[in-house]
Amino acid sequence: MRFKGLLLTITALFTLINFNSCKKIEGCTEEAALNYDPEAEVNVGCLYNESFPVELHMHQYVGLEELVEESTYNLGGVETKLNLVQYYISAIKLVDADGMETPAEGVYLLMSPEVEEYSLGNFPAGDYTKIMFDIGLDSVTNHGDPSLYQIGDPLGAQFPNMHWGWSFGYIFVRIDGEADVTGDGIPDNPDGLFEMHLGSDHFVATIEIDLPVAIGEGLENICHLKTQWETFFNSVDLSTDNTTHSTDNVDLANIIYGNIFEMFSPEY
């Protein structure tokens, strides 16, 4: 009898194993879906939050004034004309209260004060609490070949130039201007011409900002941020030390790099 019982148990076990190996677990296999089942082997359908196009609106300020290129501002006591202000934003993510990050895939933005609205692509409906992004580009993208992109693509060849051939990579932040170096209250050209060109993998700045954004039907679906350029020039004396191409004046590059972390904030 004991032998018979054992045989029965073994048979039952084999049947179970056999059964399991034939029938694959059905469910949703897509990680991003609402009904994602990590055990599922056969995808029988997934449910998603509906996605909506989201925009980034970036207002750029110098103090209380909106930044307008070719205008003159008092920066740290030095009258300074800002002729060109451009920078790259990449690796954009919206983060929800649980810390779940949703990336804006393949979005690289070349930011200019002339343009306020930028598309971030589609994001699933939901309540997000935070936005993260890099000023600069990841190492692989940074050292890619701009000729592989069409002119007009943010990563393609630009005029004015946003790429270095000599130290191969993109210029993450480019500021060109004229500073008052003679003390007469007027920006000087050519003596006061300056260039602050920040680039190289070392100077990628990851920014994290608390920004409640609800994405969904009938909602605005816009991330409102602002840039304060006064902060960018903190601890910089534009009348004496105003030019860096990153590796040729690392000290100044480090100062403006540190300031970048402080210059973005939500705009309500």
Binding site: H143, D145, P146, S147, L148, Q150, I151, G156, A157, Q158, F159, P160, N161, H163, W164, G165, W166, S167, F168, H202, T247, D248, V250
Partner: protein, 343 residues
């Protein structure tokens, strides 16, 4: 043309490869018959990037661009202005003038055999021939132009529009400009000097007795020249501080790219091929003659903290020095500098 003679071995190798990869490179194969480089004895066949196969039409277009000042902001300076064929594609001044007479800070290097270089520029700051054209085109003291503006300018030129369409199937764009220039530069192969004829082609009479003695000195462990200037390129393509100067504040060399103190004063070891044609010497072109270079090396370097350990004092008699210089002059490839395919 001489450079277009078929090297049968290479041709069959390429043919074999293309049979195996026919489904991958269909688009490329359609463009034009593949161009096979003539490779000197002792040289390997170089790697050619998959996105830039060589064709005669592309090389021709690259050559036209290379010699056309249309690449510079005021249409005065071409690549060939500072890389002269008769000087093995180098220049005979310390610092070549860019647009508006502007001067940079480095001596124009020879482009001979750039197809074999793992990195571009004296500090290795640029990765390959396809991206290098951005450097002269956009540098303030070279051509001071811009790729977008150049594309616009070439698109206003009916001849270029036609030629780009024939080669790339589209109007001038950054891809075509950079690929065509790189294709032409890949053909600039120099390997038929008296030294090559003696070493790789079995012509025992190609070198004089003095040059043979100079060659022995060159390859001796006492002088250590060939420790860096060795191999078929006569450079190992490493970055070294040769102790020629004690102060590198005007140009930190490789450190300009890496920001590392240990790279201060390090520059790519230059090829010594055609060295008799590429004066003046050193990264800044501050040394006029080979004799001065050897005299300085005999002293064993400045003792800069990053100086290569291989740089040590040595003695040469006047006759030996002359033998060594005679050998260096045997590295000149007359065929290369007079090749009509490059002019």
């Amino acid at each position: 043309m001489k450079k277009n003679k078929t090297n049968y071995l290479c041709f069959f190798m390429v043919l074999t490869l293309s049979i195996f990869s026919c489904s991958v490179d269909d688009e490329i194969d359609m463009q034009d018959e593949k161009y096979v480089l003539i490779i000197p004895a002792g040289f390997p066949y170089p790697d050619i990037p998959a996105d830039n196969p060589l064709t005669q039409a592309k090389i021709n277009l690259g050559k036209k661009l290379f010699y056309d000042p249309i690449l510079s902001i005021d249409s005065t300076i071409s690549c060939g202005s500072c890389h002269k064929a008769e000087l093995a594609f180098s220049d005979d001044v310390s610092i070549s003038e860019g647009v508006f007479g502007r001067l940079g800070f480095r001596n124009s290097p020879s482009l001979a055999n750039v197809v074999y270089y793992p990195l571009m520029l004296k500090d290795g700051g640029n990765p390959n021939l396809e991206t290098q054209p951005y450097v002269p085109i956009e540098t303030h003291f070279e051509m001071d132009f811009n790729m977008v503006l150049l594309v616009n300018r070439l698109n206003e030129n009916a001849d270029y529009v036609e030629e780009f369409k024939a080669v790339f199937g589209k109007t001038p764009d950054p891809f075509g400009i950079t690929r065509a220039l790189a294709a032409f530069e890949r053909t600039l192969i120099s390997g038929n000097s008296a030294y090559d004829q003696y070493t790789y082609q079995g012509k025992t009479s190609a070198l004089t007795t003095s040059q043979k003695i100079g060659m022995e000195l060159f390859f001796s462990t006492e002088l250590n020249c060939s420790s860096c200037h060795g191999g078929f390129l006569l450079t190992d393509n490493t970055f070294q501080n040769n102790g020629y100067f004690s102060n590198y504040s005007a140009d930190s060399g490789r450190a300009r790219i890496t920001l590392l103190q240990e790279d201060v004063g390090k520059f790519r070891v230059p090829t010594l091929r055609n060295i008799g044609l590429t004066a003046p010497y050193m990264h800044d072109g501050s040394v006029v003659t080979l004799e001065e270079v050897i005299d300085q090396y005999m002293l064993g370097g400045s003792g800069h903290v990053n100086q290569s350990e291989l740089i040590k004092p040595f003695n040469l008699s006047l006759v030996e020095k002359s033998d060594l210089i005679n050998f260096l002059n045997a590295l000149t490839d007359e065929e290369f500098i007079s090749d009509p395919a490059f002019k």
